[in-house]
């Protein structure tokens, strides 16, 4: 056991030296954990935000003006007046997500109690904005119309008021969410590629073969790679969380950073092991590269970081919830935003660790047969 630890240490130091020597790679890692995080965090909004709106106002009444004025930033861009005949072309070109159509004699009909309809055309291909925006418009216009009628004494005020409280991210800042999720994505992609490619490179250069003639076990080689590459990614991700996410983007981190770091260690163990196992399956670097793409893309898209897990079909949801990336995403949200404690997240921790053990066992068991196939 002591021997095992010494060998892992020796090989790990060697591994670290060779990773740090690849300047291009280090520059890319730096970019991924700084500028890329910042771009994604500040560049996009998951909620309705800055949505492009056009209006076809055939009424030009007080009420229609009130409706138009109720469409406000930061949720919507100021509505642009367009002619009815241009609507179709403008929407085809993707210039507007929403087009509001107010019919002629709208205000008159409302006052006469004839219930005229305002149409909102929604480009439903913009899924994130369409559904939310349609609900927003309904609420805003209903409130505005009631207000208009109430001012004229035609109807009573709404009988109920609602106070919404959003916990853990009171102003719904997208940057809080997307910055951390981007770190998780970077970690996933980098872990799979760095460790997998390190194994293939050693095999292509014959150095693994050389090691296996020496008194070194396959598991020692495997763990030295996991430790060294994992350490690089761990430091990069935690530094990014602290300096870029917490420092630069001013995202408050509610929970225990130590618990998150511990979870990150387990997650790194499981994804780097996955990368190593994949490397033992794909004989050459070009094959490995192609193998890695669907794996990280699917891991990311099913993780709940890109789209809510709740909206997936139940069968897929069940499978997705088992994956280590999904587990880690839900754990990160629980720990970093909701301040969850170990008592709450231990099932995720156990699952992530279990995956790691499985992957590393598969990888080590394939080490020797991988060399044979080469011969």
């Amino acid at each position: 056991m002591k021997r095992w630890a010494i060998n892992v240490w020796l090989l790990g130091v060697k591994e670290l030296r060779s990773v740090l020597k690849d300047v291009t790679l280090m520059a890319l890692i730096l970019f991924a954990f700084t500028i890329a995080i910042q771009l994604v965090a500040t560049g996009l909004k998951a909620e309705v935000s800055n949505a492009s709106v056009a209006i076809v106002d055939d009424d030009h009444s007080e009420l229609s003006r009130r409706l138009r004025d109720a469409v406000q930033p930061p949720y919507f861009k100021p509505p642009v007046d367009i002619a009815r005949e241009d609507v179709s072309a403008a929407m085809d070109g993707g210039r507007y997500i929403f087009v509001i159509e107010i019919p002629p004699r709208f205000q008159a009909d409302v006052l006469a109690g004839r219930s005229p309809a305002v149409q909102i055309l929604v480009d439903a291909t913009a899924m994130t904005q369409a559904g939310l925006g349609a609900v927003d418009f309904q609420r805003i216009f209903a409130a505005e119309t009631l207000d208009f009628l109430h001012a004229r004494g035609l109807v009573a005020a709404l009988p109920v008021t609602v106070t919404s409280q959003i916990f853990f991210n009171p102003n719904s800042e997208s940057a809080w969410y997307s910055s951390v999720m981007q770190i998780v994505t970077n970690v996933t992609v980098l872990s799979i590629i760095l460790v997998g490619a390190a194994v293939i490179r050693e095999r292509e250069h014959g150095t693994i073969e050389h090691l296996l003639v020496m008194p070194v076990r396959a598991s020692e080689i495997a763990f030295s790679k996991i430790l060294a590459n994992g350490l690089v990614i761990f430091l990069a991700s935690i530094a990014s969380l602290w300096f870029v996410v917490h420092g630069l983007l001013a995202v408050p981190l509610a929970g225990s950073l130590a618990l998150f770091a511990a979870a990150m260690v387990l997650y790194l163990f499981s994804v780097t092991s996955l990368g190593m196992w994949m490397a033992t399956l794909a004989p050459s670097m070009p094959q490995f590269g192609l193998f890695a793409v669907p794996v990280y893309a699917i891991a990311y898209l099913l993780s709940g970081a890109a789209t809510p897990l709740e909206s997936m079909p139940p069968a897929i949801q069940m499978v997705a919830r088992l994956l280590p990336t999904t587990q880690f995403v839900s754990l990160s949200q629980a720990v970093l935003y909701r301040g969850a404690k170990t008592a709450t997240v231990w099932p995720e921790l156990a699952m992530i660790c279990g995956w790691g053990v499985l992957f590393v066992a598969l990888a080590v068991q394939r080490f020797r047969s991988m060399l044979e196939r080469q011969g």
């Binding site: 070109g93 993707g94 709208f106 109920v160 959003i166 094959q287 997705a320």
Partner: protein
């Protein structure tokens, strides 16, 4: 051969040529004139600048200082490179390094023919002639990677000669090749020169006896020429009988080898148990029997030599002895113990040196040795001293801080031997340890081996191609095609085959057993009549020529791709799997939100409101909550995502018109989910309020209807909106990865040299390499569209033509992007990571897949606009969901085309046509 010099012209004129790699000076003010039609040998130990000099003359390396004139061309000028290169053939160092292992013999030659712009008929004729001349004619369909070393070199020669060059440059062509093949190779070269006296041949070699075949000699040392002239003159001048002696006497006094005599007392069998024993060892790879019934016993302290042509099973046997490979049948024992994979005790007693350099390139000499010492369980305190001792013993102290890549081959091999011997093993297994090492270094190397064997009683099992090394072994074994043909002491074997020298005995054994032996006397290489026709043949230039080159690269890349079934499988199946999983799972239609109610009121009215939530498809109610703290805990644990807080007296207040205030607590960890929850909750409460309002004063109906109409996707089903986006995603991630390794890998393997040495341009190379992947990506595109329409049931409402045009441009852009990444990174790891990162982040976030481009802010908006994904997203969505045709996508086509053009131009600019 000096007859051709009568033409008066010089083939090569070098004036004050210097060359350096970083701070290391490789050539220093070299001046040289060599006649046309001559055969010139460059000799000298490793790392004296022979390869650099040949690289400069061949035009593969860029001239740094001085004047290099070859065949009347000034190589410092860039203008007429193509014309020059089409008259030169260059075969780089390293066995089969510029060949393509998965391509067959005929395909390799055909490719080189095209690379030099030969027409179809010309290629066919040349290939036939060359195959017959080299004896490769029976194996035109065998992959180059499966040829023996000697055959690889013959194929290399065919490829070099296919365009009838006027200058042939061979850089250590016979290194690592067995004596029989070596003899055949030189006979071929001689025959060729006899046919074409005007051909100038330059050869560098580490075998001095080979250099004796050449009429002109250039001896080099430390980047300078120490002697040059007709071989006969040099021999006469130094008064030596062999070139080896002559060379040594040309060296400055201090550098001459000590002349240690290597004759040591012969090994004596003391009747001990053998150190290594193999019995009926067999190893099969599929149908191929690599090692066939091999048995031998090697005594303690004996030096046992293994001889045989490349690919005869020597390496496989050695790998079985080290436990790297399992035997298919038969047994092998070390010290009487059977070899098992996990046996650490045995491994401690064995030292191994593989054929190729297998230490870490990224560690220094000292670090490599220290790692070895520690892994062989030398305590840390002693490791430093041991490493120093070993470095002193193997004369590595001067290079302690150097990286192995910067060292000449001979020193690298010395380092490998030092590493193998460091832990004082009892058995040394050495696989061609001196291949490519110069004579002086080899002598030193064998000095070490003999000392280890005789003084430390180390058993040495060594394979070699050098006969003078074989003669130093106690016993040798001759192997051919997996079988041991003869075993005995060198003297016994020489006697047994009635030969003068061991080499002749070796060749006699092989010829007895070989079917390939028939080719020893080569037929005419070139037919003079045909020769004229070739000269006259028009080697097309201009656009046709450019296309020919691009086609040559494309054909080769496509053939290689077609042979790599696994890669094809990943490239075609990957996108399908990605598309299916993502199309079904990505959705923004949020449902089944877990909510709980904190009902302080418990009245009929509050229950009425709660029923509104229960009836909604968006919410799933979980067990009710007792207190505010409980609400917070449930939210924190993630058990519920929303809590509805109904205040005490809600029903009473509502009836009295006192406007009770409802509380809605939302988990905001994911802002998108939070916004949805809030919207849904507000809408339900608003509808409830309006109903109450209507109920109170029945005269007033709902004042105005607000009707959202979801166009392009009436049912608001995510699959319609997402699938076109996932198509975009797969079509950038995978095609870019296909090309991303293309160039960085050619640089790593060394086949990029064919581009440098041929008249083909870098542009044709890039386009040719890209083309097969564009085709593959388009095939993948067709399969994806078919899948989307049939299996996923997403109709293509618009024009298929419009979509396909967009897809073609997009694939050009994405494969081009992969190429560009490949030209600017240094390692394959960096290429994969860069491609993953550069494609994934903008395509997912800034291209309209999840968030519409029109809502992006500043920097990310511009990234979205510049990156091709956003444009193809418009085309894909437009054709699938909006029913649009080609006329709607003018700007998008233009943007994609421009991006493709820019990345291809950028790759062209970054990819040089010469080495430094």
């Amino acid at each position: 051969m000096t007859g051709a010099a009568g033409m008066g012209a010089m083939a090569i004129i070098l004036e004050d040529v210097s060359h350096h790699y970083g701070p290391v000076q490789s050539l220093e003010k070299v001046s040289l004139q060599l006649p046309r039609g001559g055969a010139v040998a460059f000799v000298g130990p490793d790392g004296v600048g022979k390869s650099t000099l040949l690289g400069l003359i061949s035009g593969v390396k860029r001239v740094q200082q001085g004047k290099v004139g070859v065949l009347g061309f000034d190589l410092a000028r860039r203008g007429d490179r193509a014309a020059f290169l089409s008259r030169v053939a260059y075969m780089p160092q390293g066995l089969g390094r510029n060949l393509y292992p998965t391509l067959s013999v005929a395909e390799n030659i055909d490719f080189f023919g095209r690379l030099f712009g030969l027409g179809g008929a010309e290629r066919g004729a040349h290939m036939k002639r060359l195959l017959e001349a080299t004896g490769l004619a029976p194996f035109p369909d065998r992959p180059a990677g499966k040829l023996s070393g000697g055959m690889k070199q013959k194929l290399g020669l065919c490829c070099a000669l296919v365009h009838d060059p006027d200058l042939l440059i061979l850089d250590e062509p016979t290194t690592g090749v067995d004596p029989l093949s070596r003899r055949q190779f030189w006979e071929l070269v001689d025959a060729m020169r006899a046919e074409r006296p005007e051909l100038t041949v330059l050869v560098s070699t580490a075998y001095m006896e080979e250099a004796e075949r050449f009429d002109h000699l250039v001896a080099m040392d430390e980047g300078r020429i120490i002697a040059q002239g007709p071989t006969r003159d040099i021999l006469a001048q130094t008064g030596a009988s062999t070139l080896e002696q002559a060379y040594i006497s040309l060296l400055p006094e201090a550098k001459r080898p000590a002349g240690e005599l290597l004759n040591v007392a012969p090994w004596q069998d003391k009747g001990e148990a053998p150190a290594i024993e193999a019995q009926h060892l067999v190893r099969r790879f599929g149908d191929f029997v690599a090692v066939d019934d091999v048995s031998f016993r090697i005594g303690r302290g004996e030096i046992f030599g293994f001889l045989g042509s490349n690919g005869c099973g020597k390496t496989t046997t050695m790998k079985m002895l080290t436990g790297l490979l399992d035997a298919s049948s038969g047994t092998a024992t070390l010290f009487g113990r059977p070899i098992t994979a996990g046996d650490m005790q045995t491994r401690m007693r064995v030292g191994y040196m593989s054929q190729a350099f297998s230490l870490y390139e990224e560690l220094t000499v000292e670090q490599n040795l220290a790692l070895h010492a520690r892994l062989y369980r030398v305590p840390q305190a002693e490791a430093g001293a041991l490493v120093n001792d070993v470095m002193a013993q193997y004369a590595l102290l001067d290079h302690a801080r150097a990286l192995p890549a910067a060292l000449p081959l001979g020193i690298r091999q010395r380092l490998q031997l030092a590493a193998a011997c460091l832990h004082k093993p009892e058995i040394l297994i050495l696989d061609e340890p001196t291949s490519g090492v110069d004579p002086a270094a080899r002598d030193m190397f064998w000095g070490h081996l003999l000392r280890l064997s005789r003084e430390d009683r180390v058993t040495i099992f060594v394979s070699t191609h050098f006969m003078n090394e074989a003669e130093r072994c106690d016993r040798i074994s001759l192997m051919d095609r997996g079988r041991v043909l003869a075993v005995g002491t060198p003297a016994e074997l020489t006697r047994q085959y009635h030969a003068q020298r061991l080499e002749d005995a070796f060749i006699a054994v092989l010829e007895d057993n070989s079917t390939e032996a028939a080719m020893v006397a080569p037929p005419a290489v070139a037919d003079p009549a045909e020769q004229k026709q070739v000269e006259a043949a028009n080697r097309h230039g201009g656009w046709a020529g450019w296309l020919g080159f691009a086609w040559a690269f494309a054909r080769r890349e496509a053939t290689e791709l077609a042979r790599d079934r696994i890669r094809m499988g990943f490239a075609l199946a990957g996108p399908i799997i990605l598309l299916c999983i993502c199309a079904f799972s990505i959705s923004f239609d949020v449902q089944n939100i877990r909510m709980a109610v904190l009902d302080h009121d418990q009245s009929a009215t509050s229950r009425d409101l709660i029923r509104r939530f229960e009836g909604s498809r968006y919410f799933v109610e979980t067990r009710p909550i007792g207190s505010e703290e409980d609400a917070h805990d449930r939210l924190r644990e993630g058990g519920v995502q929303m809590v509805l807080d109904i205040p005490p007296g809600f029903g009473r207040d509502l009836a009295a018109g006192r406007k009770p205030d409802l509380g809605v607590f939302i988990d905001g960890a994911s802002p998108f989910l939070a916004a949805n929850i809030q919207g849904y909750a507000d809408a339900i409460i608003l509808a409830y309020s309006l109903d109450r309002l209507g109920g109170a004063s029945t005269a007033v109906a709902l004042p105005a209807l607000i009707e959202p109409r979801f166009i392009y996707n009436q049912d608001f089903r995510s699959i319609y909106a997402i699938t076109p986006g996932v198509l975009m995603l797969t079509m950038i991630l995978i095609p870019a990865m296909l090309t991303a390794l293309g160039i960085v890998r050619e640089k790593e393997i060394g086949s990029i040299i064919n581009l440098y040495a041929s008249p083909a341009g870098a542009g044709a190379f890039l386009i040719g390499k890209q083309a097969p992947y564009v085709v593959l990506a388009m095939v993948s595109y067709c399969s994806l569209v078919a899948l989307i329409v049939t299996v996923l049931g997403v109709p293509l409402k618009g024009s298929l033509l419009a979509l396909t045009m967009g897809a073609l441009l997009f694939v050009l852009a994405s494969t081009g992007l992969g190429m560009m990444i490949s030209t600017f990174v240094r390692t394959q790891v960096a290429a994969i990571f860069a491609t993953a990162l550069i494609c994934l982040i903008p395509s997912v976030n800034f291209s309209g897949l999840l968030y519409p481009v029109s809502t992006l802010l500043d920097g990310s908006y511009w990234i979205g606009i510049i990156f091709p994904s956003s444009w193809f997203q418009i085309i894909s969505l437009g054709t699938f969901t909006k029913g649009l045709g080609p006329a709607s996508f003018g700007t998008a086509y233009l943007a994609l085309g421009l991006f493709a053009l820019i990345v291809i131009m950028a790759s062209r600019l970054m990819l040089g046509k010469q080495e430094v």
